[in-house]
Symmetry: C2
Subunit: 187 residues, 2 copies
C-alpha cells in the first residue's frame, strides 16, 4: 500500500543550522500532497527509544542508528520519514542510508549547510556559549567533529537562504525524483 | 495516505505459546489484502533499539514501551504493526494501547492463551527447563508473573487450536471491524 513512494528525508547539520525548522516546515507541505509523513525529532527519539544514552561517540552513534532503524521501517511502509538529528558522523549516516536502500526505499540526505560562525553567532539555544565554556562536552563543531556529507542529494545554505527557499529546493528534488506528487492546482 | 486503516496487532502470551508463529502466519495474509504490514519481532527490536537492556522488570517494561512507540508510529501511518513480545505486565500493555489509540489508530490485543503446562511440556527452546533450574532469572510463568489480559479483542487457544484456526479467528475479527478488506475472491 503506497510502499513504493516511501522515503527517508535525512537532515544533517550543525546544531542551530535549521534542521528542525526545515523538517517542521516541509512536513505539512508533504501531507498536503497526500504523502504520509512522520517527523522523527531527535529529542523525541531520545526520550522514547534512547533513555540512558549519553553523548559519547558510541552513544550518539547508537541513537542515530536507532533513528535510522525506525525511519527505515516507516519508509518501507510508504511513509515519508523525516529525521532531524545532527548525525555528525559520515559512516553512521552511510549505514543508515544502506539500511533504507536495502529495504527498497529511497534515502534523501539534505545537508543543512550553515557555517559554524553563523550558527554560533545566532546561538539560539545558548548551547555554543556553554560548549565554549566547557560546560557541554562532545559538542559538535566545538569539541566534536562534524563530517560533512560528500554527496548529499540536496544542499541548503541556511545562512543565506530563507526557510521558504530551502524548502522549495528540497521539494523540487523530491518532485523531480517522483517521490512526491506535483503541487495540486487549486480550482 | 491510508492512515485510517492502520492498527496495532498486539500478541501477548507466555514464551512458547505461539506468538511469533501466529505473527509470521498472518502477516502474508494481511499483505495479500493490500494492507502494509510490519512484524516487530521482540528479538529484532532488542537487537536494534534495546541493546544493553536486560530482563529486570524496569528493562522489560522499557523494551515493551519501545515496541509500543514504534508500533504506534507505523499504525498511525496506515500500517498493520504486528508485535510478538511476551509483554507480561497489564499496565504496560495498557500504556501502549492508550498511546496507539491517542494517535487515532486501533489497538487489537490478541491473548495467545496456552496453559503453562502445555508450553512447558513442549519447551521448544529448552528455556523452561533452564528457568526451572535457576539458570534464567525473571522467566515469565516460572519466576516472573504473567498478567493475563482482562479484555483482549481476541483470545486464541493455541494449546488446542491449529495455527490456521487461530489465524482465522483473528482475521474474522479484523474483517468484522473493517480493519482489513474481505478476502479477495479469485477469478
Amino acid at each position: 500500500m503506497g510502499a513504493s513512494s516511501g522515503f527517508v528525508l535525512w537532515f544533517t547539520g550543525l546544531s542551530g543550522a535549521g534542521k528542525s525548522t526545515l523538517a517542521a516546515s516541509i512536513a505539512p507541505l508533504l501531507e498536503a500532497r497526500e504523502t504520509s509523513v512522520e517527523v522523527l525529532d531527535g529529542d523525541e527519539i531520545r526520550a522514547h527509544l534512547s533513555q540512558g544514552l549519553g553523548f559519547t561517540k558510541d552513544d550518539r552513534d547508537m541513537n542515530v542508528r536507532r533513528i535510522g532503524f525506525v525511519a527505515t521501517l516507516l519508509a518501507r511502509n510508504g511513509c515519508a520519514a523525516i529525521t532531524a538529528a545532527i548525525s555528525p558522523y559520515a559512516a553512521i549516516r552511510s549505514e543508515c542510508r544502506a539500511r533504507t536502500e536495502r529495504s527498497g526505499a529511497r534515502f534523501v540526505e539534505v545537508w543543512v549547510n550553515a557555517p559554524l560562525e553563523v550558527v554560533e553567532e545566532r546561538d539560539t539555544k545558548g548551547l555554543y556559549a556553554k560548549a565554549r565554556a566547557g560546560l557541554i562536552k562532545h559538542f559538535t563543531g566545538v569539541s566534536d567533529p562534524y563530517e560533512a556529507p560528500a554527496a548529499p542529494e540536496v544542499v541548503v545554505h541556511t545562512g543565506e537562504e530563507s526557510v521558504e527557499e530551502s524548502v522549495s529546493k528540497i521539494l523540487q528534488f523530491l518532485e523531480a525524483e517522483g517521490l512526491v506528487r506535483p503541487e495540486a492546482v487549486p480550482g
